[in-house]
Symmetry: C2
Subunit: 565 residues, 2 copies
């Protein structure tokens, strides 16, 4: 080994530069080299949609420091004494010789980069649908700076009128908004029955409704069968159900897979999900090689199982750990993820952390869930709605997951929930949280705490809940539950579901018990705007001896189907 | 005991109505009576400043449900079957007879209200300075709906030009903003050397600077010696240093004390701080009497010691527990507080949770702290600055406290920190948090995590920090540390401290080592805009063998003193 430790980092986007910079801070004498295939370094790739949409005016804002210095090789050399080689491909890792074979993409020349410790941060590659026509011009992903440049040019030129976004995930929805801002008519196509699979269906549906209200078309449960073209340019997509949608642009956003080929070729252990396997020190199966970022599999802290979590924030944290360990020995550790994510879609936010009901059930957890609706702040301070779903273990009440959508401050709710997960909190702690309260920022009982209250009530059997979905199914099946809208007459006049409900305002309920069904075993379903009054009503109706009374969770605010009014 | 349990609640503002409503949900048959001295019920008292300032247009918004129903006795009767007696004073508790002696303030008639379980929620009373002139017209607090009505009338009439706010705490600062919005020229007078004592001085100073920039005068370290008046109306205040400030209005906001006289007279145990003593079931020393809200002492979860925590959110949570336990036996519990608070002061927010450095040191904790600065979101998404301070135990790294000020999203940062406290997290967990990241909402490494990174670095001895305060003291004492500003030349031209610093941009540092002092033991202090580059520079300078290198924490962003430029 040289006196000066040689650290090679493959990848210069997120985890790579972070690892290199962290290594430098622990070892001023190390020789640190960073290999980057593309021309840019340290790109704020999560900002691409905002650049495409024109929210970010100038491309350099994506690749410069907060004070405006472009993070190019000169910057890395001067500020961090790191040799960054761009337009350079890592072709092969020779573990025996401990070198990385590199190719200068400008000249085609190959050279070897010797290492004492190697850090692999090769990121992810976008999935493409295996259908005819995928190579037509006008079909792109939004994964690279080049993609972003391409789409931004399209925006600036203003010639394209119709586009299709293939994939209704996080990037797909952000792209949908970006292209809408660019004045392009959008259709989103999602193979699954819902967009944003990190959400459970009822919350995803609310978001989908809002996207449609903003004039983007959304087609779910259908996939692209073929890209249609003329003269080598895309002119439309054909869906699996035969529908043809004309378009001049198609952006594919059906997810990414770990870019682990280099590691695989070098004989490093690869996980079941295709990512590089690392331990909590971010070390691969070769103790001289670390890996970080989208190319690795990450431990889910809740389940203990590996997942793919290609998020920019985790890439940075993992890079930090890999960088330190590469120079200082295996000192630092990265515990894993709770899979927290959030995105902005027009005036809505959507976020989740932990397990969805779908995932938790599939994994065999015995769970209880609740959906609630409420504002993020008092109405008199301009509060905006949040629809939240909380998932806990039935026994013990440990939080397993939380998701939230709406125009309100979703990201704060999800942050609170992510912290609750990482603190291992149970329902009994969550009902008594001490959070920062002032009218400009929250309700006296914060939405998160209120949701815990409702779920605790449900866990303790104070009420039975029923989802909007289930109520809709009953109506569609011509079942005839006794449905009570517990709002006031003015509210009922202004807006109502029209699903056969009877209006009995909560304030009149105790005087109008004669209107309740005679048979105490009749299924009764109550709701109001957010189902708080619905719940209070249920408690009273139950006290009369009714045995089958349910609250429609989230009330009208969480009803994702058409209303009478 | 009657068949129908008789629950009496004294107090109808926050904890009281919550307790009564919760009791009703567990026992439809109970007789629930609520005694309220003032005419209004369930007032959103934290909203008073926003009503006074005109942010809230209509008074009824403070006392109505989200759907616009005024929470008057009729509402409580119809919606919750609770008998609310307003303008009724609880005069005496007769524990032997289990009755509350009440007086109807309209008629003067006394009557007895028998109880099986009693809940005391008498709130707090504002402190008044024991100085001459306190009874002059034009001197008020902002504690009651009547106070709010009075100040709102003053705003609407628009005749008063100058006012003094006595007390620079949370309510004082909110009142300052409200009266400023009402077009009144304000001076805030604070007896302590700083405003907002829940902050440590360096953060409080930043807020004070901002308040002054918004044209409100702030006088610290000085108190009111006398209110001056003419014809029974206030005309000014005289301070302890002899200064006389003319004013036509004085709002006193020097804090509140528990309104525990009724409980004390009934022989219930009262704590050292003057609040009613309760256990974690919210039961007083009499098992048939519960207490909740501002009138009780609360256990601080971190220290285990009792504190006063007169916050609306905690009152609601405590009321919920007391209400359930009063009808269901001692089922529910309230664990205590971490003393989380936040307020809005003009375009800044200020918040804290847990212990301040001042409190933690006073209590004998062996702590490490750090101050950091950074934006809440990327600059290209309109990020706004946050100045944060984190306090942990040196051994083990358990979080003890966190505070934050700035125009950025402080309330989210404080919420994250409050959750970390309630999860008992240590620095090693906080450096790897999985929080919701997307450019519209946060940095890839959230401000809270970044602060944990810096503090972890400090705990591990990677750098020594020095506060802006300490640097200022050294300059004022004509000590001559070698000070390096590590920013770029353009930044230096645009803004600089002018405290004898030398400009060596980080990117040039490795080539300009000959400019560093010869004596390796010289005290060197570095900084930049937020001291990230300052930190990177320190790591390099230390590698040259310098033994006494320090980073000025928070950089220029946290410098609360005048700058050269």
């Amino acid at each position: 080994m040289n006196e000066r430790k040689r650290i090679v980092v493959i990848g210069g986007s997120a985890a790579g530069p972070k690892a290199a910079a962290r290594a430098r801070r622990f070892d001023e004498n190390a020789c640190i080299t960073m290999i980057q295939k593309v021309p840019d370094l340290s790109m704020a790739s999560c900002g691409y949609p905002y650049f495409v949409g024109g929210v970010i005016e100038d491309r350099t804002q994506l690749i410069c420091t907060p004070t405006g210095v472009v993070r190019d090789p000169l910057f890395f050399m001067n500020a961090k004494n790191i040799s960054a080689k761009t337009r350079t491909e890592a072709v092969r890792i020779d573990r025996r010789k401990r070198t990385v074979v590199c190719r200068d993409l400008s000249t085609g020349d190959e050279f070897e980069e010797p290492y004492d410790k190697l850090i692999i941060a090769t990121g992810s590659i976008p999935r493409m649908p295996p259908v005819p026509g995928s190579d037509l011009d006008g079909i792109t992903t939004l994964q690279s700076m080049q993609d972003a440049d391409y789409l931004r040019r399209i925006r600036d030129e203003g010639r394209i009128k119709k586009a299709v976004v293939v994939g209704g995930g996080l990037i797909g929805m952000e792209t949908c908004e970006a292209l809408h801002l660019a004045g392009i008519e959008i259709t989103v196509i999602e193979m699954m029955p819902q967009i944003l699979m990190f959400l459970d269906p009822e919350l995803a549906k609310l978001l989908e409704n809002n996207v449609k209200a903003w004039a983007a078309n959304v087609i779910t449960d259908n996939a692209v069968a073929e890209f249609l073209g003329e003269n080598g340019r895309v002119t439309g997509v054909k869906l699996q159900n035969g529908t043809e949608l004309p378009c001049e642009l198609a952006v594919v956003a059906i997810g990414v897979k770990p870019n682990s080929q280099l590691a695989r070729d070098a004989g490093l252990e690869i996980g079941r999900l295709g990512g590089v396997l690392v331990n909590d020190r971010m070390a691969t199966s070769d103790p001289d090689i670390y890996a970080a970022g989208d190319c690795v599999e990450v431990r889910n802290i809740i389940t203990g199982e590996n997942v793919l979590a290609p998020y920019g924030d985790l890439a940075n944290l993992q890079g930090r750990v890999a960088g330190e360990n590469a120079v200082s020995g295996n000192v630092a550790s990265f515990p894993g993820t709770v899979q927290t994510g959030v995105c902005k879609v027009f005036n809505y936010q959507a976020g989740s952390t932990g397990l969805s009901e779908r995932t938790a059930s599939k994994m065999g957890y015995d769970i209880e869930t609740v959906v609630t609706a409420g504002p993020d702040r008092p109405g008199f301070m301009g509060g905006l709605p949040l629809i939240s779903k909380m998932i806990v273990e039935k026994s013990g009440g440990r939080l397993l997951g939380f998701q939230c959508v709406g125009p309100g401050d979703v990201s704060k709710q999800v942050a609170i929930a992510a912290m609750a997960l990482q603190g291992g909190l149970t329902i009994d702690t969550m009902v008594n949280l001490d959070l920062p309260y002032a009218p400009p920022f929250s309700l006296a009982i914060d939405n998160f705490i209120a949701t815990a209250h409702v779920l605790q009530n449900k866990l303790r059997g104070l009420f039975q809940g029923i989802s909007a979905e289930e109520v809709k199914r009953k109506i569609d099946n011509s079942e005839k539950p006794f449905i009570i809208d517990m709002r006031g007459p003015e509210e009922y006049e202004a807006m109502r579901l029209g699903i056969g409900e009877r209006l009995i305002p909560l304030g009149a309920l105790r005087k109008r018990t004669d209107e309740l069904p005679e048979d105490k075993d009749t299924e009764i379903i109550t709701y109001c705007k957010i189902s708080l009054r619905g719940y209070e009503g249920v408690r009273f109706i139950q006290s009369l001896g009714y045995t089958n009374v349910k609250v429609m969770e989230g009330g009208i605010a969480a009803w994702p189907y058409p209303r009478e009014k």
